[in-house]
Symmetry: C2
Subunit: 435 residues, 2 copies
């Protein structure tokens, strides 16, 4: 740190997700020092995590080193650390790399998987928020196929090949669609003699419809596409418990399954839940319309961690466009504060919503327009590839997708780590060979 | 398995490395049933492991699913399992997936890191044999750079930035060269203010020369290139012990270092060492010139697991060309045996040897020709990219390399897993920020 910069206000940003990284870059123009803190050294393009989980792209394709993003920004530095506590009164953070003081703080820490108090679910389900989650799902699914290929008992084989996804929002819909295609299109080529009809993909949703943020006609369209792709969509199906072997629904129904991917909810991380301020649902903190923390005007909270309502009184959704627009708003408000101007209230401009369902289908709401089918899917591909940071990543992801699209091939279906103990029952000794 | 095949002899191959996979494919033409067993579901292109370790390519670029390779081969199937014991008398294998009987067995299980009885070394060093090894090294090196960037004590910073490689064979030379380039060319762009002269790469070799399989002029050339690239080559330096903090040499010298990559030896895996037959150095089993296990003519051993001497009485090296030529020889001998002909003795045709040293330097021995410098490097790139199985992998690796070569950029420098406990000392609490 050069001495000439010491007089500049120190803005600390926690979280290098969509909101935090955008805020850091936008702050290049302001007379401040910026420290961006994240526990990972990469920015993760979360919308494509389900593609890593279903062997469509590899982890490196959707993650980009934060230092490479900030390299040319002279007023910013990166700190790899876990933030353990926010000391609001003393304006400092306690982190795994020591204390960090701030003049202004932007909390952009995102969310984590929400089990709604059913902690038993956390032990046996797969989340879908981190690279490790996605790698685990891929390894697990591929390992189950290997197990099933040498299992002679039909009931056990069926349980091994029953893959359940809980949650009918965009993540659950995308995951179920991609999983069904992996199973129906890619894996049968690898497992000769494999009977696809033995494998099931279940999408379990507690409500009576999918994609709550979509208009009814697109919800219906998504449902039909999923069913056409072989996904068993179960509406009104609330998961009661799961022990790694059997899913119990609130109705009392039991579904034997070795796989439950939990995409049913997101809540604020502990760091945010522990803040001594007023919280809303899912542990989000209520912020002022200016995105400031009430009582702490030097602290801004954005993205999944912040609770704010739109003009109709609906909570702003936990999606990337909200976080990125809030990042822009916070940087503008910081500029105003440094210039002695009054701050502006945040206004969300809803850009619409896209959800993809497999290789060539999607539903999209764009203002007044409702799109579905191939055109919506093509738009989804274009939007996501363009948003991916880094030209090389874009190129590699495009090659992988083009390859996959035209050849139904998945070169990435590697089991990189052995299955976790406890996740699978001990192997039954079978007899193979001359038999 | 179709009933018409039941009468066909069952050939079981253990190991999907260079030898095992080649044997499986060559057996397509013989009237046999083939079962290929590996504990991983992929073939690993080991010569490029050091590139994964130094963030040059990602794991998926150098691994290819075995099932994709065997997909069109009707007489072959794949079994994902760990082989725990070979029951030679009863002609069966005990595996994690049950028993597997064989009529003929081809053991192609490769080697593992050899610590020469110094088991203490295994606990704190990094091997370089598996994808997990390579991922661990990359995560570790990048994490140390993050730590060093916020460490104010010069001695501790120096220990964090001292990277040692033990072993002056091709693996050690390649690893040290690539590590030095990662540190000198790529990372300084990510860590502004980082003083490259604080970082050291040490190559420790017990003998008085590098690359024992190379002629003396190329050993000298490799040494000079490494030194020019900033690698401190220490000849006559035998590692005595390492506790994760300090490397002790046989001379009594202590080198404080948080990283020791062990590329100093390969030995046969336990499965081979436990065979009740005569063993040679490094636990390899002595095989007949026909590659059969003495006393068990239905068992063939190839590659790193087999000990055989050339006409001059030198042991055949543990390299891919030996394994692949032996695979061809075993398949030919199997054909002869099925046809009632006498078996042939294996003859190794030495294709030469290549070792690369960073971005644009290599040494190569090709028959009478000794090559060095850029031309040898270009040949190395061509040979390796052509050998990589799968066109997509080739394309992606080429893009990564071209990108890296022209832009000194490493998009893959992601820390994917948190550092292992014990590997690094507990973080000292520092004070950052306005301080």
């Amino acid at each position: 740190m050069k001495t000439t910069q010491f007089a500049l206000p120190h803005v600390v940003i926690v979280g290098a997700g969509f909101g935090g990284l955008r805020a850091a870059r936008r702050l290049a123009r302001l007379p401040v020092r910026v420290t961006l803190i994240d526990r990972n050294n990469y920015h993760l393009f979360q919308p494509l995590l389900y593609q890593v989980a279903t062997a469509g792209v590899s982890a490196a394709d959707i993650a980009y080193p934060v230092r490479a993003v900030l390299r040319r920004q002279k007023n910013a530095r990166f700190l790899l650390a876990e933030v353990r506590q926010v000391d609001l009164l003393n304006r400092r953070l306690l982190t795994s790399a020591g204390e960090v003081s701030y003049d202004y703080l932007i909390l952009a820490v995102g969310g984590q998987t929400h089990y709604f108090g059913q902690d038993g679910l956390a032990a046996h389900t797969f989340g879908l928020k981190t690279l490790a989650d996605a790698d685990s799902i891929r390894d697990h699914v591929l390992t189950l196929f290997e197990r099933a290929s040498r299992e002679s008992d039909p009931n056990r084989r069926r349980a091994l090949l029953t893959f359940a996804v809980a949650g009918g929002g965009p993540s659950g819909v995308e995951m179920a669609g991609a999983l069904s295609e992996l199973i129906r299109l890619a894996l049968p080529r690898d497992f000769p003699g494999f009977d696809v009809s033995e494998a099931r993909v279940l999408l379990l949703e507690a409500a009576d419809y999918l994609l709550p943020a979509m208009p009814p006609d697109l919800r219906q369209a998504a449902l039909r596409v999923l069913q056409r792709k072989g996904v068993e969509v179960r509406l009104g199906a609330r998961v009661q418990s799961y022990d790694g072997q059997r899913i119990e629904l609130a109705s009392g129904e039991i579904i034997p399954s070795r796989t439950l991917i939990w995409a049913a909810g997101i809540r604020a991380v502990e760091l945010v839940q522990n803040l001594p301020v007023e919280h809303a649902a899912a542990g989000r903190v209520r912020v002022d319309p200016t995105l400031q923390l009430p009582g702490f005007p030097e602290v801004f909270v954005i993205g999944d961690a912040a609770y704010l309502e739109d003009e109709q009184g609906n909570p702003l959704p936990m999606v990337a466009p909200v976080a990125m627009q809030q990042a822009d708003a916070v940087v503008e408000n910081l500029r105003r504060r440094l210039d002695g101007q009054s701050l502006l209230a945040f206004q969300y401009r809803d850009p619409g919503m896209l959800a993809t369902i497999g290789r060539n289908q999607a539903v999209a709401r764009l203002g007044r327009f409702h799109l579905r089918g191939f055109i919506a899917w093509a738009m989804w591909v274009a939007v996501h590839i363009l948003q991916l940071i880094g030209f090389r990543n874009r190129l590699v992801v495009m090659i992988n997708w083009a390859w996959d699209y035209f050849l139904y091939e998945r070169a990435l279906r590697l089991i990189q780590t052995p299955p976790q103990p406890g996740r699978l029952p001990q192997q039954e000794a079978g007899r193979l060979g001359n038999g």
